[in-house]
């Protein structure tokens, strides 16, 4: 099967680099001590097929969200390529990029304000994405927004309430319905459950599980919570200092971690 999403040797750096940090190998710090260049992510490659979920874990600042931002075409990599369904879209800009995002990429950000316009209604946030993908007539847009609203177990009476008036867990579900509105083949989740209480977290996890079972999306999920990763991800990447230090089947990486940092991560988890 061919990959729906492929990231090929993605590197994002802030700064010009110098011979010392450009030539440095695994284990080198994310920030060069000589020239001050920060390597947010370095040589990260990843392939996700339809129906496949890849998790990314790592300490804060290890480059997880940068990888996701590149995959969502939010920012261009310094080098490397982003391929959607085999097509190199690394350099796509402007209207073409907006359309790609609307049709092929769905994202749930950690902070709802990043993924939603909080001054717009829940339904409006979903409709906005449908419009970007070419939807025009009001009635089908509203019908689709309402349908998703109910699938996400949001109260039907609140479709026309501003997103700002929603709780954190509800805003995450509005983000998820916005992401799924155009049935994109790729879903990116950045810490979707952090900051939510356990009952709301369980509801969101259940919804994401259902998306996995019912639609053959290619999913990438970034999380600090290894239990969430264990439940949702088939494969796992462990990142440290901008690099992938270990990858494999999720229960293998978490059950028999090979790299010193993965071992530390697993042993630090509350049981």
């Amino acid at each position: 099967m061919s990959a729906v999403l492929e990231l090929d040797a993605l590197t994002v750096r802030y700064g010009e680099g110098c011979p010392e940090c450009e030539g440095s190998g695994p284990g080198s710090p994310a920030r060069c001590t000589r020239c001050g260049t920060v390597w947010a992510c370095r040589d990260v490659s990843l392939e996700v097929e339809a129906g496949d979920t890849v998790g990314i874990v790592g300490e804060s600042g290890s480059g997880k969200s940068t990888v996701l931002a590149c995959a969502n075409l939010d920012r261009p990599p310094t080098s490397g390529r982003v391929l959607l369904q085999g097509e190199d879209v690394t350099e796509v800009r402007g209207g073409a990029r907006r359309r790609l995002r609307a049709e092929r990429l769905g994202i749930v950000y950690q902070a709802p304000a990043q993924g939603l316009d909080l001054s717009v209604t829940a339904g409006g946030n979903v409709a906005d994405r449908l419009l970007a993908a070419g939807g025009r007539a009001y009635a089908p847009l509203r019908e689709r927004a309402l349908d998703l609203h109910q699938q996400m177990e949001l109260p039907a009476g609140r479709l026309d309430d501003r997103a700002r008036s929603f709780s954190g867990g509800m805003q995450q579900r509005v983000q998820l319905s916005r992401a799924l509105a155009t049935e994109p083949p790729i879903l990116l989740l950045d810490e979707p459950t952090s900051g939510l209480d356990v009952s709301v977290q369980a509801r969101l996890l259940d919804l994401i599980r259902r998306v996995q079972l019912e639609r053959a999306v290619a999913m990438v999920i970034v999380s600090h919570d290894l239990a969430v990763i264990r439940m949702l991800a088939d494969r796992l990447l462990v990142m440290q200092q901008g690099r992938v230090v270990e990858q494999g089947v999720t229960d293998q990486v978490l059950g028999d971690p090979q790299h010193a940092y993965s071992q530390l991560l697993v042993s630090s988890q509350l049981q």
Partner: protein, 222 residues
């Protein structure tokens, strides 16, 4: 042979402690279709590690693990994630004494999500002794034994030609343990190959074909 293990070696390296622990030091065994091989040995001898190597949950250092059924063959040592995941989808199932529960999903629905038809899933849970009023409840609220029933039902309903069973009857009462062993035996009679760890090796006639003991990283016939 459904499962053929040759000269398997596995050690665990703890970087923080600078220590390496050798667990399996050249283990060979094979399991034929419809055969049930039981591993015994003291706690920490490597029984579970052996099962986890076969399932791709632990990375062996050397050797070979071949799973073969229905014209499909997979080598698990050195296999990439896609090979491991494909083998789990079609060839090998694992049941442990622990269940990673998905919150909010009822027991019956868990089985249904794995492709089991609703009525058959209900019958399976009932045969294993899970009260009917619990079928529509999420296992997160269950006792240890009840969770284990769900776990075992998931493994037994999966129809993989090779089943790995790790202490699957450990927290069951005698009646439910009997029911579980009966079902395991039925799968065996259907031709499923089994590699199992039991705290108390079942004496039930016809279930266990061979008992192998793990001793100092090697396998010896008990």
């Amino acid at each position: 042979m459904t499962l053929e293990i040759r000269e398997l070696r596995k050690s665990f390296t703890q970087h923080a402690l600078g220590r390496r622990i050798d667990v399996l030091e050249g283990v060979s065994l094979s399991v034929a279709p419809g055969e049930c091989v039981v591993l015994s040995g003291p706690s920490g001898s490597g029984k579970t590690t052996l099962l986890r190597c076969v399932y791709g949950q632990a990375l062996p250092d050397a050797g070979s693990i071949r799973i073969e059924a229905g014209g499909e063959e997979r080598e698990m040592v050195g296999a990439g994630p896609s090979t491991v995941l494909a083998a789990r989808r079609r060839l090998v199932g694992l049941a442990t004494q622990f269940l990673d529960v998905v919150p909010r999903v009822p027991a019956l629905e868990l089985l249904r999500q794995r492709g089991q038809e609703r009525a058959a899933a209900g019958r399976l849970l009932s045969r294993l002794g899970l009260a009917e009023e619990l079928h529509d409840m999420p296992p997160a609220t269950f006792s240890g034994g009840q969770r284990q029933i769900v776990n075992l039902a998931l493994a037994l309903s999966s129809r993989r030609p090779l089943l790995l069973l790790d202490e699957v009857t450990a927290s069951l009462d005698p009646a439910r343990r009997r029911a579980a062993l009966e079902l395991i035996q039925e799968r065996k009679q259907e031709g499923v190959a089994m590699l199992a760890v039991f705290h108390d090796v079942p004496t039930q006639s016809g279930l266990v074909d061979r008992v192998l003991t793990v001793r100092q990283g090697q396998l010896v016939a008990a």
